[in-house]
């Protein structure tokens, strides 16, 4: 009986020890980045969607920069019982260890404000995603109609 308990405890501890995720560096890849066409407005806003894959330890998306807009940040849309709410994700977007975070229509998205150019279907532009770990990841974004 004691032996059984001992083995259980050991295996629980063992699960925790190797690959203790919180001390590992993150391994981030960004894919499938796309944006909606803007509608030719002055002072328009743009929306960008993409997939962030992390094969390592936890990290956080803390900034986005690019030439097409003066400022960009991560926002989240939520349909709260019939009330559509859109809020900036404060303090950066958590990217947990060994996870995939998907930005897609109706949920998380990058909102670009004070656009400097129109975006038409077929255009491509570059953004840089900045992470808390210090990584700066360049991303090629394709503009497409849904």
């Amino acid at each position: 009986m004691i032996g059984l308990i001992f083995i259980c405890v050991l295996s629980l501890v063992g699960c925790g020890l190797p690959g203790n995720a919180s001390s590992q560096p993150s391994q981030i890849a960004v894919e499938d980045a796309w944006a909606r066409p803007t509608v030719g407005l002055t002072n328009a806003v743009g929306g960008v969607y993409l997939v962030i894959e992390n094969m390592g330890g936890p990290d956080k998306l803390t900034g986005i920069s690019g030439d097409v807009a003066a400022m960009s940040s991560v926002h989240e849309t939520k349909d709260n019982n019939g009330m559509m709410q859109m809020n900036e994700v404060q303090g950066g977007l958590e990217i947990p260890a060994n996870s995939t975070v998907t930005l897609k229509p109706g949920g998380l998205h990058i909102m670009m404000m004070d656009m400097k150019q129109e975006l038409k279907a077929g255009d491509t532009f570059k953004l840089t995603l900045k992470f808390q770990s210090g990584k700066d990841i360049p991303v090629d974004v394709t503009v497409r109609d849904e």
Partner: protein, 214 residues
Amino acid sequence: MNTKSDGFKVLVGVLAGIAAIVVFGLVLSFAPELARGAQPTPTPGGVPVGRYRPLPDVTLTNQDAQPMSFSDLRGKPVLLAFGYTHCPDVCPLFMSDMRKVKRHLGADGDRANFLLISVDPKRDTPDVLKKYVSAFDPTFLGATADDATLKNVIYAFDGIFEIGPASPDNPNSYPVSHTSFTYLVDADGRWQMKYPFGTPTDIIARDMQALLSK
């Protein structure tokens, strides 16, 4: 009386009681799932408005900077939603859903109106609205009004809107929360149905077709 053994029995009794409550609680919380089995995702459909709901007699400003009231729209059913142009994610979804509904109607598409009411008159001037709605379809309508009138209109649809906080470094970046439903008004100006966000567009088109066939 052997108090030690009595005390022990009481303790066992109490512990057993607690264990029973915990097990009972766990069973209760999982029981509905156990009883039901897997549930299919229900397809959302329109919610009919039970009784006659008149629309307020107010004047909005349309995308051509002209006054527009709901009575001006009579003669054609109207599919309308609330939103604003500084919303890059979900408001384009509302608009492209409206475009899909119009396509489902085929040749009857021009016998209906599609209207975006902006809850952000500060940024959504008629010019901005016109560019926005006509990018989705040249026949689409846009309208807005001052805050008091907007409240009147949105309350008539059992909805609300609320201006949210801007980013500290960009005062023009405020979001606006608003009702997520899409609303169907018949050709006599009566509000008939409301659709949760994401309702399949063929369901909405079917209801519009029914109004057009009357």
